[in-house]
């Protein structure tokens, strides 16, 4: 998709930097009132990092607590509040906005050759709504916390819990609207703002995956809003919807909740797949294998993802025949994910592969996502799920997808586009080290949890029988390594802001349109509207060693 008609990247001036989106103004107001998609992406980056830190501390406390089978570090109430904080913040205030709202906001318009998203003001509004939701969630935490888990199962959440459920539900409810607006904005942007020549099949696969993600965001999130509103109606006014004592049906809540939350799992992985589809061709210097199949597998995942929610409910007392259908569909939805993994692997064949930090994260993603996906088959399989459901096996499985998949991809993407975002290179050696530490620490943390699940250790247990202790100790030890893997990039990224080498427009010698403009990009992205005349991922393994860091 090289923009052939573009002028070659301007040489880096020796004295004065060209004006870019960061240097146009430095006032606080220029950030808080910005409608520039790039700045909004950065606002989101800082916001989600804030929530990530809180949620990580909750996780760290839990892991420390679980060293001892009798508990003792915190009370049961506190433990229950910690895993609720961890789940709610990580899911709705970190993972869901992570790649879409940060990298998506920053990169999508540039990738398709646009000056901004379709609705820049709505884009800014989505950030304010997100912060509003976050304030509700923080209020709920500060005023005493919530002990329902991120799943808010009724009638516990609606009638029995004595904690600040409504405030937390309100936070999630409000944040949901920011997700909807972001999704809507992306859909319209991708439909209407593509540069001349940027046909649907010249779109980078990152766009295909975020398009699919946006469709899920727009269609699924309203159901979450309805579910939480009904929950609050029952809790506040005693209107019987879910509590059988009031004439309701508690399993109805699970249907509604998972009708949103299963597609939401794909909100939390499809963007990661998109990032990997960008990184692998670039560092293998190969056109991606099976472009159309990778693109349509994203769409297939988005569609099928709406039809599998009942696999969270095989032992919930839903009909066994419903269980059959949901199991069958869950097996089918695994196929498009497998197709992607096969195509990424095939892309490497006869490539010219370098192992820069983004590529290391991409390799890590494939490894961990593959394990996460394969263990998903255990849970889709009815007879096996009865034993494994609600055990640590499930915890391990979804962390392999959410953290091993999505967070690895987010880190990979952040390293890949960091030079574009900041104009500076991060220290490459430190980057590789952090990727390696993250990969090792992650496996150390979560692999023992598969074994705990096999053995029947239920999740959300504050105390546990002593025979499980050895695996919890391993897991906690791993978590400390993982913590180092996450802390390192924060340090060297901040360091690179001032001290990093200048990146130049295209340090990776990549093909996307976003690389055909200076780093950091000017406020309007492109001096002239680019015209696309080539196919995507037009890489060649024969090209000369790239001239990095001009």
């Amino acid at each position: 998709m090289n923009a052939v008609e573009l002028a070659p990247p301007a040489p880096v001036p020796l004295v004065e930097e060209p004006e870019n989106y960061l240097s146009v103004s430095h006032t606080v107001a220029s950030w808080l009132l910005t409608t520039d998609h790039k700045r909004i992406g950065i606002l989101y980056l800082y916001s989600i990092l804030f929530f990530f830190v809180i949620a990580s501390f909750a996780a760290a406390t839990m892991r420390l607590e679980l060293l001892n089978p009798q508990g003792g570090l915190v009370l049961s109430e506190t433990y229950n509040k910690l895993f609720t904080i961890h789940g709610v913040l990580m899911v709705w205030f970190f993972l869901i906005p992570s790649i879409p709202a940060v990298l998506g906001n920053f990169i999508i318009p540039m990738m398709i050759g646009a000056r901004d998203v379709a609705f820049p003001k709505l884009n800014l509004m989505s950030w304010y709504i997100f912060i509003g939701g976050g304030l509700f969630a923080l209020y709920s935490i500060v005023s005493g916390g919530v002990d329902t888990g991120w799943t808010f199962y009724t009638p516990f959440s609606s009638t029995y819990s004595n904690t600040h459920v409504i405030a937390m539900a309100a936070g999630v409810f409000v944040a949901g609207f920011s997700t909807i607006i972001t999704g809507l904005n992306f859909i319209v942007t991708i439909h209407k703002m593509r540069a001349p020549g940027m046909t649907w099949f010249r779109l980078p696969l990152f766009i295909w995956s975020l398009y699919s993600t946006s469709v899920i965001m727009v269609l699924a999130t309203p159901v979450l809003a309805i579910t939480l509103a009904l929950l609050s109606l029952e809790r506040f006014w005693g209107i019987g919807i879910f509590d059988p004592k009031l004439g309701g049906d508690p399993v109805l809540f699970q249907h509604l909740f998972w009708f949103y939350s299963h597609p939401a799992v794909y909100i939390m992985i499809l963007p990661g797949m998109g990032v990997i589809s960008e990184i692998i061709p670039c560092f293998a210097r190969k056109k991606i294998f099976g472009y159309h199949f990778v693109a349509f597998s994203s769409v297939a995942i988005a569609v099928l993802g709406f039809l599998v929610w009942g696999h969270h409910m095989f032992v919930s007392s839903q009909s066994v025949y419903a269980g059959l259908i949901f199991s069958l569909l869950s097996f089918i939805v695994s196929v498009p994910s497998a197709i992607k993994v096969f195509n990424w692997t095939a892309t490497l064949y006869k490539g010219s592969i370098s192992f820069d930090t983004p590529m290391l994260y991409a390799f890590g993603f494939i490894g961990l996502f593959t394990i996460g996906g394969l263990t998903g088959l255990f849970l889709a399989c009815l007879g096996a799920d009865v034993h494994l459901h609600d055990t640590y096996f499930v915890v391990a499985h979804f962390h392999y997808i959410m953290v091993g998949g999505m967070v690895m991809a987010f880190m990979g993407g952040l390293h890949y586009w960091w030079p574009k975002i900041t104009g500076r290179m991060y220290p490459e050696l430190m980057g590789r080290l952090a990727a390696l530490i993250t990969f090792i620490g992650f496996n150390f943390t979560f692999f023992p949890q598969f074994l705990l699940g096999y053995l029947g250790m239920p999740r959300r247990y504050h105390t546990y029988p002593p025979e499980f202790q050895i695996f919890h100790v391993l897991s906690t030890a791993g978590a400390s390594i993982l913590g180092v893997g996450y802390a390192l990039p924060v340090i060297y990224f901040l360091y690179s802001l001032r001290n990093g080498k200048r990146a130049g427009a295209n340090p990776w010698n990549a093909t996307g349109l976003e690389w055909q403009t200076p780093s950091p990009p000017p406020k309007d992205n492109f001096a002239r509207v680019p015209v696309v005349k080539r196919e995507p991922y037009d890489y060649s393994p024969f090209e000369k060693e790239r001239t990095q860091n001009v």
């Binding site: 029995y160 007392s317 088959l377 007879g383």
Partner: protein, 307 residues
């Protein structure tokens, strides 16, 4: 070190074969993906001398291959998993029924013989046991890892799970659905006894009468017999022989008089309008506990009927 809890039920080996197969399959797929990945990464590393002429492969043939083969494989695992699931879900006939009521944060267990226990279930080895479960507050889930079974215990309805214990011993019983503050302490033991040990345990622990006897007493105390009894003035449907049979309703429909039906009739005002009778049954909501409801059902069951 064992990576699975001991097998102690008739379905446990079936589940373990499935788990073993899935583990093997995962290892196979990991090898299938990771080995080429590592090989390509090494062979085609930048700077290495390798043949990089564009490969001549027909893309769609490869795509169809790695779409269709996994798809068939998936259908196979689905079928196997579903058949094991049906074995887990469908109890064989002639089961010993034990009632379980979950509440924050304990398991209350009632044997038909009248023995009541908390957080412990004594069962005989080699006999099919069916747990009939409900919750008096939030959703719980009764999980016995050694038996490889788990079932949510849901307020407002009865769920069941069954097992046939194959080895005497003590086994973990966990609540696996988060239910509030002391969720992690809602644990207990399933104690599997040999046939004779079980009989003597029953004999030495049953002090009062059976559940049906307790139910009969309640039936009088709550005034049910005033209408449903033989000499009552108010005409209400007789309950003899009703259990498990279809009840004709006003309007021509039928409903099977199972546990849930009886429960709803007691708790909900005019839950049904039985054909030929005035719908005048009041609600007993708030006047009967979950255990008492189960006693009443045991009594009505003892009046005959069944499938």
């Amino acid at each position: 070190m064992n990576l699975l809890p001991g097998q102690a039920s008739s379905v446990a080996p079936e589940v373990d074969y499935l788990l073993l197969f899935l583990t093997g399959l995962s290892l196979f797929f990991m090898a299938l993906i990771f080995l080429p990945l590592a090989f390509f990464a090494f062979k085609y590393r930048r700077g290495a001398n390798a043949d990089r002429t564009p490969p001549r492969v027909t893309e769609w043939k490869l795509e169809v291959t790695w779409t269709v083969i996994p798809l068939f494989l998936m259908m196979g695992i689905f079928t196997w998993g579903a058949s094991v699931y049906f074995n887990i879900e469908r109890p064989p006939a002639d089961a010993i029924e034990i009632n379980v009521v979950g509440k924050q944060w304990m398991w209350k267990v009632q044997h038909q013989e009248g023995v009541r226990e908390i957080n412990e279930i004594h069962v005989p080895v080699g006999r099919t046991v069916r747990l009939v479960m409900t919750s008096q507050d939030v959703i719980h889930s009764l999980f016995i890892p050694a038996f490889r079974i788990k079932q949510d215990v849901v307020p407002g309805k009865y769920t069941t799970e069954w097992f046939n214990a194959t080895k005497p011993g003590n086994y973990h019983l966990f609540c696996s659905q988060f239910c509030g503050t002391d969720h992690a302490r809602m644990i207990g033991r399933v104690i599997v006894l040999g046939e004779s040990a079980y009989e003597s345990w029953l004999a030495s622990n049953s002090s009062g009468g059976t559940l049906a006897v307790a139910g009969a007493k309640l039936f009088t105390e709550l005034g049910c017999s005033g209408c449903h009894g033989e000499n009552s003035k108010v005409r209400a449907p007789p309950l003899e022989g009703v259990y498990g049979k279809p009840v004709p309703l006003d309007g021509g429909a039928f409903q099977i008089a199972d546990d849930k039906y009886i429960r709803d009739c007691i708790l909900q005002e005019n839950h049904v309008h039985v054909a030929g009778y005035e719908p005048v049954m009041p609600t007993f909501k708030g006047h009967v506990s979950e255990e008492e409801l189960m006693d009443l059902i045991a009594y009505i069951k003892s009046l005959g009927g069944g499938k």
